[in-house]
Every structure is written in structure tokens, then in C-alpha cells.
Amino acid sequence: MSQTQIENAADHEKAEAPLIVTRDLSVHYGAVQALNQISLNVSEHLVTAFIGPSGCGKSTLLRCFNRMNDLIDHVKTTGKVTIAGHDIYRSDIDVVQLRKKVGMVFQKSNPFPKSIRENIMYGLRLHGMRESNRLNEVVESSLRSAALWDEVKDRLDTNALTLSGGQQQRLCIARAIAIQPEILLMDEPASALDPVATAKIEELILTLKERYTIVIVTHNMQQATRISDKTAFFYLGALVEYGNTQAIFTNPKNRQTEDYVTGRFG
């Protein structure tokens, strides 16, 4: 298995510039192994989708890229993750800076129970922006980038929890891009939304891809085909197959991948 992984990885290393590189990455939660020896490259300015049945480790891998797994008790990470050449699990890495560069959007939209404006400003203030003109500029630009500006420009000071589910999720995206990350990690960002709101989020992802490198976890295979350039299929903590989305869905090399993408299990 790991032989194919390395071959896969080697193939793609030639083609595009890899931004995130993992080598033999394993994660244990206490006695439970969540990820087993993952080696893969994520390319810059592409949308990479992680698919697989629940509990296959796709979210765990995503959370390795901004070290959110560190927050869980008894988690043990071995192997290597480099982003832009930096080994992010080395002790001298500043996790705050890492998370500033690697933004994240969660499955359940989680705006702070503050005003829309305050939500966007939260990250900016954390990173030292104080000037109110600049702050307001960034509020506008990031809401525009998240395609939310027109809907909320007249009520920036109302509580973010009054927004609809889809709007809340786009606010979370705006909040993440306000601090100018390079990479956006999205953990099933549309799983709790209705089809219309989902379509808006997908549309947004396609426009954001010009500026950001996006890694998205999804259990919706149509979504993966619609928005991603590359797809990785995980099963029981292992990377089964990784390649161009087109190829994975039309011509999977692995039997398990085929069973999954054709809907036979999962």
C-alpha cells in the first residue's frame, strides 16, 4: 500500500508544486489508530477533496495540517508534515502563525455569538490590527470575497447568530480569509446545509481557489466531482487511492475505491 502511495506522490510531485507534503504520517488517539502511514502531496492553488466513509481518518488528516489535533488529549502524531518546506511538527514552529496561514472552516458553522463585524475583526485583532479604518476595509473585502457582503452590509452590527445556516457558514469562511491565509481547510462545510445554500458554498469555493489552496473533506461524492481537482480516498485510516478527481471517479484503480464511489458501501 505505502509503495503505491509513494509512487502516487512521486507522480504528482513532478506535475505541480506541492505545498503540503506528508510522509508516513500516523495519528493515534490513545490506543486507537486514526491514521496509518499517510504519504501524500497537496498541490498549490488546487482544490483537493478527501473522501471516504465516516471514521476513515479524513478529518483527522485535515486537522493535522493546522495542528488542531494538538488540542485533543492523548493524541500522538508520528511521521512528517511539511508545509512550504517547513516541518510543522518541529518544536520551534509557531502554531499561532501556522494557523494564521492555514485557515479552517468547520462542519458545524460556528460564528461567535457577537456581531457580524466583530466576527470578522476577531482574527484581525488577534494578529495585532488596531486601526479602525483598516479593520472596516478588511471586513468589507472579506465579506465580499465570501459573497456575503450584499446580504449583510446593512446589518453588520447584528448578532451573527441571526443569520441563516448558509450565511453563517459563509461568514465563517469570510472570518477565515480575513486574516489572509494561504491554505483553507474545509471540514464538510456544506453537510448541514440545504441544497441552495450548498450550491452557494460550492460556487464560492470555485472562486476562492484562484487565491487559496483548498483542502476539503466531504462525504458527498457529487460535491467532490463538482469542485475538486484532485481526490484522495481513505479507508480505515489508510490512503487507498489518490489522483485526479476525474480519474478517481471514472476509472478507479482500486476495488475499494470503486465500491465506494459507485455507492456500494459507505
Partner: protein, 292 residues
């Protein structure tokens, strides 16, 4: 089963109606705004202003001592501690244990530790020349500290509850934006938990306001003229005054009316505080319901 419930409510009703019935005449604006100088057993003139002042002072001081320690401990337990480590369990069982210590034992502890040990050492260090003890006396500060130790578990448990009610997603969102744990605690967790933390504070005050046993040897005075003005002063106390009027009155029939009126004063104080916590909790609950 419904009968058992009815018995409880009947008892509560009998006690409260008896107190109100017998006490409402003597309970007046004059009563709660006049002092009891030289005449604390005089049913026509005595008031309870000193006792209200004393009880309020010890409760306010207690709040100042107990809140920071209680809230920080709860923050450690919910935000920082590993949930299954030995030390976390030890702290948790210490909290449980503290909650079960009888109030008279807190009184003994207050006398042995705060008055004699801390007070005695303060006298040695700050006033080595004087023979008469200054700090090593029952005092407002020692009573408040004793009560603070007693109410520590109340504050810790209710703050923990408030912190646990905050959706974990908010903490994740904050950390994912590059906030440190401390920044997350200060900017997200504490503001969100504030109503719950305040409820804990009011609960602690309600619990401490009526306690007599812990202050018997650590600061309550049988009688003193005027108000406590220093941390080392003793104080008169509503609950202790009820005890005195019930057991040491020279003329129990003659002082009955002021005894009842004092009971009403104390009940009014504790019930207001309790009602406040119940209302605050209900509000927080409905707020949480709408946000999830």
C-alpha cells in the same frame, strides 16, 4: 408520592406563614434602618442595621476572595486539565470533599488556621513589639476568608457548568484563527460564561449569608456599637443575632417581635439571592436553547 411532595410544601408553607404572620408587624422601615445601640433587646427601639451591615460586609469580602480562585480553578479544570489525569481527579475529589465538610468544622479551621496561625504570624511579623494581639483576634477578614473556603466548591461547580455549556466549536473556531488558549479563554470563553459565573457567585452569597457556625469563632460579635470599619474589626451578624435573640434574650416574650422581624430580614435577603439564581439560570437555559 404526591402526598410526600405535599408534606414538604406544607412544611415550607407553615414555616413561612408563621414567620410572616408573627413578624410582619415589627418588620418595618424603621426596624431595618435603625441601629441597636445599648438596646438590642428593646422591642420598641432596636433595629438591625448593624447586622445588615455586618452580614453584607462579610459576604462582599467573601465574594472578592472566592470568585477569582473559584473561577480560575474551574477554568483550569475545563479548559486546561487533561480529563483523566490523576491530578485532575484529585482536584475534583478535593472540590467534592470541601463541599461536604460541616460548617462548624470550617469554624474550627478558621479559628485554628486564619485567626491563630495566619493572624498570629502577622502579629509576629508586623508588630513584634506589641504584646496585645491585633491580627490574632476574630475579625471580619478571618470570617470572610473562612466563608470563602466554604463556598469555593459552589463557585467552582457552577462555573464549570457554565464553561461546559459553551459549544466546543467556538473554542475551535478561535484557536483555528490563531488564538492561543489564553486568548480564547479571555476573549471567547469568559464573556460567554459570564452569566453562569455570576449565577455561581450569587449562589455562593446566598449560601454564605445565612451561615452562622463558621463565623461563631472567627468574627461575629455578640454586641458592638457602630459598624465594622476595619478588616480587623468584629461585626454583628443577622443569623448570629437570631441565635442570640432566640437563646439569650432576657425576656423571650418581650423580644419575640424583633426576633421574628430579624428572621424576616434574613429570609428576605437569602430568598432574594436564591430567586435571583433561579431566574438567572432559567434565562441562561432559554438562551442556550435558542442558540443551538
Amino acid at each position: 408520592m404526591a402526598f410526600a411532595t405535599a408534606i414538604i410544601l406544607a412544611f415550607a408553607a407553615v414555616i413561612l406563614s408563621n414567620i410572616l404572620w408573627q413578624g410582619w408587624e415589627a418588620f418595618s422601615w424603621r426596624f431595618i434602618t435603625s441601629r441597636a445601640d445599648q438596646n438590642m433587646f428593646d422591642s420598641q427601639q432596636a433595629g438591625v442595621l448593624q447586622m445588615i451591615a455586618g452580614t453584607s460586609a462579610r459576604v462582599v469580602l467573601m465574594t472578592i476572595f472566592v470568585m477569582p480562585i473559584g473561577v480560575i480553578t474551574a477554568i483550569y479544570l475545563t479548559e486546561y486539565a487533561r480529563k483523566d489525569s490523576l491530578l485532575t481527579n484529585l482536584i475534583q475529589s478535593a472540590v467534592n470533599n470541601l463541599a461536604g465538610v460541616p460548617s462548624i468544622v470550617f469554624g474550627l479551621f478558621g479559628l485554628g488556621f486564619f485567626v491563630n496561625f495566619i493572624g498570629g504570624n502577622l502579629d509576629l511579623i508586623l508588630r513584634p513589639e506589641q504584646a496585645a494581639p491585633y491580627w490574632r483576634n476574630p475579625a471580619l477578614i478571618w470570617a470572610s476568608l473562612t466563608l470563602a473556603v466554604m463556598t469555593l466548591p459552589v463557585v467552582i461547580v457552577s462555573t464549570e457548568e457554565a464553561l461546559k455549556a459553551i459549544p466546543p466549536g467556538l473554542r475551535e473556531a478561535s484557536m483555528a484563527l490563531g488564538a492561543t488558549r489564553l486568548e480564547t479563554v479571555i476573549r471567547i470563553v469568559i464573556p460567554q460564561a459570564l452569566p453562569g459565573i455570576m449565577t455561581g457567585g450569587v449562589l455562593a452569597v446566598g449560601r454564605a449569608a445565612g451561615e452562622v457556625a463558621p463565623i461563631l469563632f472567627t468574627g461575629a460579635a455578640y454586641y458592638m456599637s457602630g459598624y465594622p470599619s476595619h478588616l480587623t474589626d468584629q461585626f454583628m451578624d443577622l443569623g448570629y443575632h437570631i441565635f442570640i435573640l432566640s437563646t439569650q434574650s432576657p425576656d423571650i416574650e418581650g423580644t419575640r417581635s424583633i426576633l421574628y422581624a430579624t428572621v424576616i430580614t434574613l429570609l428576605l435577603l437569602t430568598f432574594t439571592l436564591n430567586l435571583l439564581t433561579i431566574l438567572m439560570r432559567a434565562r441562561i437555559r432559554t438562551k442556550l436553547r435558542t442558540f443551538h
